[in-house]
Symmetry: C2
């Protein structure tokens, strides 16, 4: 055979394949936008079940609902993976006010941080010391802090285009603010809500006491950004004002819950597993539509879209809805542990946990060789404007699967509105746009398709 | 000088310049996100003035407000350009119902199309014939249509990623549906609202009677998509049901209004004009926050951002807020006419009229040489995710400026949510996200900066 004939054949094969990929991906997007299921499913999860705090009745209802969903889609195998999860309950609604003079008070909206202890039954009233950073505590010293409430008031920065960057730059106050302030004798902490908006909604989120003995633990709450502005201004006028807050949250014993798992077995390489997932638990203030009901419904939909467009996976594709991401990642750790003990070979894991907004691309955590492979697929995503491929973190639940021969990926939606709703009572279904959600599911399904069809580049040391 | 030294110098100059551009654009985005004015301005325009129908009192208030705004920003020259505009008034709220049997009625939400005549005072009640396309009218013929209300019910298609494509594929029903149906003796038309959602909000928009004599004109209204579904289903059960609607809108005599114009004179090439703008009029149902209050405020902000970051334009940068885009483009035509009569040299015009959503890029209508220039700037927009540069239409108001030696451009925001609000009562300020709006203004300002600094490639035939 002459070289040019061979060349022509190779060129034809290559172009035909490209066209096949384009057609498949277009079919996926069409199915999602025209006959997608994710929006109706998320409506049920959000409005019929609601907020799904780890260990709650609603979380168990969500486990049952999503298992039934996967059963009804005809997946080859659907099962529940038991896992012990934390159970923290909020109790009666929190209450707080700024007391500028005895008897002169302004109520402000607060919410207990997830994992915090309660205040004494009658609440806490104490003077306030405002700081912008944890480092400031040391310069104030015990003299400046003991007996007071520490008020962390460093706002998220509006500059970064990626709002998760701003979040990372401020979340230390919420996560370890109580632990640090306690060591200087603070009686409680109040943290400015992690959002870029000025509004009246407090945003909760997880916090830790680390190894602090129980008697040194102090209650921690988030205050709305408007409340934080008011408190800061009031303090400037009179540093002797006092702050009152009361919350009755508590941590109960761990309870059994489940990761919900469903899979289609691969026809050719059943032992190579592609995982797609999100976390099924949420905070309790809203209904967890964006965080992370969206990611869960998109994950199930991503696999359904493959089947609905007539594609038969060569590899095993597994949907995993992780339990208890918001409070300690118990589900993710349990899943990774069992993967290891069973010696399962996960070659790809994709998480959607950044809201159901218009997808703009993916982030990848993988070897150079696999990154090259992924970048070669970028043109396939360009017609759908989901082609911003970056390197970096993937998702908290799939993080424990990290290894040499796995590609980790995270869906990266437009992040501008995410923290308007994050961990607050307005993380609700009404703030989900159907098409934005569906585009995310389609983008995820398309990436699964490509990894299923082409596999990954194996590290020769592996 | 040895060639390699020259090469090194050129390379250094090139890189230094690149860095300067990067710094300037980063400064613009920072200023917009940290100290931007567009959101507060739009709040005033939307909530204090409200919907700004061509020829209305509110439109005049908007003219005054925006002129004052530009005056207060210290632009070199701010003026009002008189233009005669159509004045169409909606009158009392419209009313409609489906009568499935005499006395058995279901009210449905409708809104008169902009430019439509009223029904008779008592309304119109008539049998309905449903069509999906204007072409179907011919096959139904006069026998199938005369004395009936034609119900255009072709939905916008969910498939296209760019929702404007779906809009283009359906808008003929609204724009010329009445004119066409009248020729077969229809007594009125009802058009399915142009939105991709199923909801209860009717979406208005412009329509034409073309050259139809007055006595042949028939009233035209849009029905909500849920209403359209109900009407269609009811018709399938019984083709003899009747539809009633009543509207009292009318066209009055044209009135004088104004384009609002402000500029900073260029230091080096004052006769080369860069235009940035949007349209100041809106529909009356909502407050016109997205269409096109956002574009107007972004345009003023784009110029303010240049000044606030210390940049001195070499060319003249002019903000133009066009009047009466929604009903006939009178302002745009007047502006273009005066450009021509004065022999002004516009080298660049940029419009924002696709909503205040996260900007994803720009579309360009220009020569190959200028497109090459623009594409070379793409990397500067990548860090801000505004680098989807396409060719195609720019904006209705700047369209009349088209010529050989001008680059026309349109801001292209994410389009997923645009038609949820377009021309409906939920096009309101509460659906504006501050950061999304600000990113658009910054992207526009950055493009102005580059065209101001580098000019355009001139067509040698020009």
């Amino acid at each position: 055979m002459r070289y040019w004939v061979l060349g022509l054949l190779l060129w034809t094969a290559c172009c035909w394949s490209q066209t096949e990929d384009q057609q498949q991906i277009e079919a996926i997007f069409n199915e999602s936008l025209i006959a997608g299921k994710s929006y109706d499913w998320l409506n049920y999860l959000s409005n019929r079940i609601g907020g799904r705090l780890s260990g709650s009745v609603q979380a168990e209802q969500a486990v049952k609902y999503t298992k039934n969903q996967m059963d009804s889609l005809g997946f080859d195998k659907v099962w529940l993976q038991p896992v012990m999860v934390p159970k923290w309950v909020r109790g009666t609604p929190e209450f707080a006010y700024i007391e500028s003079k005895p008897g002169i008070t302004n109520n402000v909206p607060i919410t207990a941080l997830g994992g915090s202890i309660a205040t004494p039954t009658g609440g806490i009233k104490a003077p306030v010391v405002e700081v912008k950073t944890i480092e400031e505590l040391a310069s104030l010293g015990r003299d400046g802090i003991a007996g007071k409430i520490v008020f962390y008031n460093r706002p998220m920065q509006p500059g970064p285009i990626n709002t998760f960057e701003a979040y990372s730059g401020a979340v230390d106050q919420r996560y370890k603010g109580a632990m640090e302030a306690s060591q200087y004798g603070a009686v409680g902490i109040i943290v400015r809500s992690l959002t870029l908006r000025l509004d009246d909604l407090p945003h909760t989120g997880s916090m830790t006491y680390g190894d602090l003995p129980f008697e040194q633990r102090i209650p921690a709450a988030a205050i709305s950004t408007n409340g934080a502005e008011l408190l800061s201004t009031t303090l400037k006028l009179d540093p002797n004002i006092r702050f009152y807050f009361k919350q009755s949250c508590k941590r109960l014993s761990d309870v059994e819950s489940h990761n919900v798992i469903g899979e289609i077995r691969g026809s050719t390489y059943p032992d190579e597993i592609l995982l797609v997932g999100g976390h099924l638990d949420s905070w309790d203030l809203g209904d967890g539509a964006h965080d992370d009901g969206a990611g869960c419904m998109q994950s199930i939909e991503a696999l359904r879209l493959l089947l609905a467009t007539g594609y038969s996976p060569q590899r095993t594709i597994r949907v995993v809805l992780f339990m208890s991401e918001e409070i300690g990642l118990a589900g993710a750790k349990q899943y990774a542990k069992e993967v290891k003990s069973k010696g399962e070979n996960h070659i790809f894991a994709l998480e959607s946990d950044a809201g159901g907004f218009t997808p703009l691309g993916f982030s990848f955590d993988c070897s150079e060789a696999n990154l090259d492979r992924v970048l070669s697929w970028k043109p396939l995503f360009e017609p759908f404007l989901v082609h911003n491929f970056t390197t970096g973190g993937s998702g908290a639940d799939i993080g424990p699967l990290k290894g040499e021969n796995i590609v980790l990926a995270g869906l990266r939606p437009d992040s501008q509105r995410y923290f308007d709703h994050h961990h607050a009572e307005n993380d609700t279904f009404e703030h989900i746009n159907k098409r934005e959600l569906e585009l995310g599911a389609a983008a995820m399904s398309s990436l699964l398709y490509l990894f299923d069809k082409y596999g990954i580049a194996i590290n020769s040391k592996g």
